[in-house]
């Protein structure tokens, strides 16, 4: 397990390789379908959201307000990243992201953007909402809530030792491509 602690510099990110398990400590911003479409169409980042050298988390959390009116995150696993493939490469380049966390991996264009801009794709365990939710030590803020609703809003989380696996690195390697090719070859033998 490699600890990946803020600030997420290009050097730290370039040192990561496919198959590395990391524990992330720092700030994450969530963003899923609505946010990607919005940014892709030229929407402005709300004041307070800074993605430069940041990590974007494909996640629609369950967040409730406790008795004191404080936000509390009760579940926060990753959502399927492939849906953001049409937008992700541009967003990585334009906003200077260093990491994207999600599940299921992404395609060629994102892989190329990772290589070019110094970014990695980090795969969190899909469905592990509780384990990952425990790693969120603080809900700092929420943006675009009225426009998009709770699961689609941008949440700003502080995380500690958030576990993920590097499945696409900044050297053009993708575990998803490898497993797909191997499983396709295996299936061809079995049918």
């Amino acid at each position: 397990m490699i600890s990946l602690t803020a600030p997420f510099t290009e050097d730290k990110i370039r040192a990561l390789k496919v198959g590395d398990e990391v524990a992330i400590t720092g700030v994450l911003f969530t963003g899923r379908d609505a946010v990607h479409k919005y940014l892709h169409e030229g929407g402005a980042l709300p004041p307070g959201v800074d993605l430069r050298n940041g990590i974007l988390y494909h996640c629609g959390p369950v967040v409730i307000k406790d008795e004191q009116g404080q936000w509390k995150c009760v579940a926060a696993g990753p959502t399927t990243s492939a849906r953001e493939e049409p937008y992700q490469g541009q967003i990585i380049r334009q906003f200077g992201l260093r990491g994207v966390i999600g599940k299921g991996g992404m395609g060629e264009r994102t892989l190329a953007a990772c290589q070019e801009a110094g970014c990695v794709y980090l795969h969190a365990v899909g469905g592990a909402a509780q384990v990952l939710g425990e790693c969120i030590t603080k809900v700092r803020n929420v943006y675009l809530m009225d426009q998009f609703g709770a699961p689609e809003a941008i949440w700003e989380f502080e995380v500690k030792a958030f576990p993920a696996v590097v499945t696409m690195d900044s050297h053009g390697k993708s575990l998803h491509q490898e497993v797909l090719a191997a499983s396709q070859a295996e299936l061809a033998k079995l049918v």
Partner: protein, 292 residues
């Protein structure tokens, strides 16, 4: 109605926070089988920790609490309308309590009113039977795994899949290949051979109400179920598509009649976070027995 309302809220809570025993047993088996020290093993360990935490904290196993599907077996004369009203109220309360995410979106406006209630949400299927018993089964079907479901209209040249059981095998395995990484594996397949487009998908989902360790009473389908699990687990896709031994935890296949011109095979994919629970209800709506 109060009793019924409370029972349904409890059914939702438990479905969302606790994995059924049969699924847990299959997941533990797969953890044992996975090679030690791999990322596949560590993914399954996180899955186990997650299951424990969710139960202990009475919180959703996965944040995508899914489409809310009720399957109700009820006697003749049962008041479906008031049951449906009560179920909708129970869903609203369960959402307020955080057992369910605010997960239901108006498809036209994109608005989410935060209640999980709206056209088609929740979905209720009633099935009348001769017994006086009322049995309510609930499935929370996540979107990630729902998106990798597939329907094939046979024959399919690309896959060399004809209108026969070997053809069915080919398309089902193709669905497994295509789903890799996306549906939070290891998963479970519900499959229907036949039907029209709508009933075929519907029947495929109902297969997921079967327990993982049951056996198909139709010998051909039973053989196909075993074969697909074994073959899929040789593909090396593994948990989360990280590579590894467990790609599927189970396959359940049913058949429905078709018209001569059509031959559909529909595959519903369920993720490891297999949330289904069920209860039988007493006369006042109190829970009598848990079904899974």
């Amino acid at each position: 109605m109060k009793q019924l309302h409370d029972s349904l809220v409890e059914l939702i809570r438990r479905a969302s926070a606790e994995i059924p025993d049969d699924v847990q047993a299959a997941l533990l088996r797969s953890l044992e089988e996975e090679k030690k020290g791999t990322i596949a093993e560590s993914a399954l360990q996180i899955v186990q920790r997650n299951i424990e935490l969710a139960k202990q904290k009475s919180q959703p196993i996965c944040q995508d609490t899914g489409s809310i599907l009720f399957y109700v077996d009820c006697p003749v004369g049962f008041d479906e309308i008031s049951f449906a009203d009560t179920a909708r109220e129970a869903v609203k309360l369960a959402t307020k309590k955080g057992y369910l995410r605010q997960n239901s979106v108006d498809s036209i406006t994109g608005k989410n009113d935060g209640t999980n209630v709206g056209p088609g949400a929740p979905t209720l299927h009633f099935h009348q039977h001769r017994s006086p018993e009322v049995a309510v089964r609930l499935m929370l079907k996540g979107g990630g795994c729902e998106n990798v479901g597939a329907q094939y209209s046979l024959p399919i040249e690309r896959l060399k899949a004809d209108r026969d059981l070997p053809g069915c095998r080919k398309v089902i395995l193709d669905a497994v290949l295509q789903a890799q990484g996306k549906g939070c594996g290891p998963g479970v397949l519900g499959v229907c051979v036949g039907g029209d487009r709508a009933t075929s998908y519907e029947f495929s989902k109902q297969q997921l109400l079967r327990k993982l360790d049951d056996r198909n009473p139709v010998p051909e389908l039973d053989a196909l179920e075993q074969d697909i699990v074994n073959t899929a687990n040789k593909l090396g896709i593994g948990p989360m598509g990280f590579g590894g031994k467990t790609t599927l935890l189970g396959v359940k296949i049913g058949a429905a009649n078709r018209v001569p011109a059509s031959y559909f095979v529909s595959v519903s994919y369920m993720c490891w976070a297999f949330r289904r629970q069920g209860v039988t209800l007493g006369a006042d709506g109190q829970i009598e027995k848990w079904l899974y």
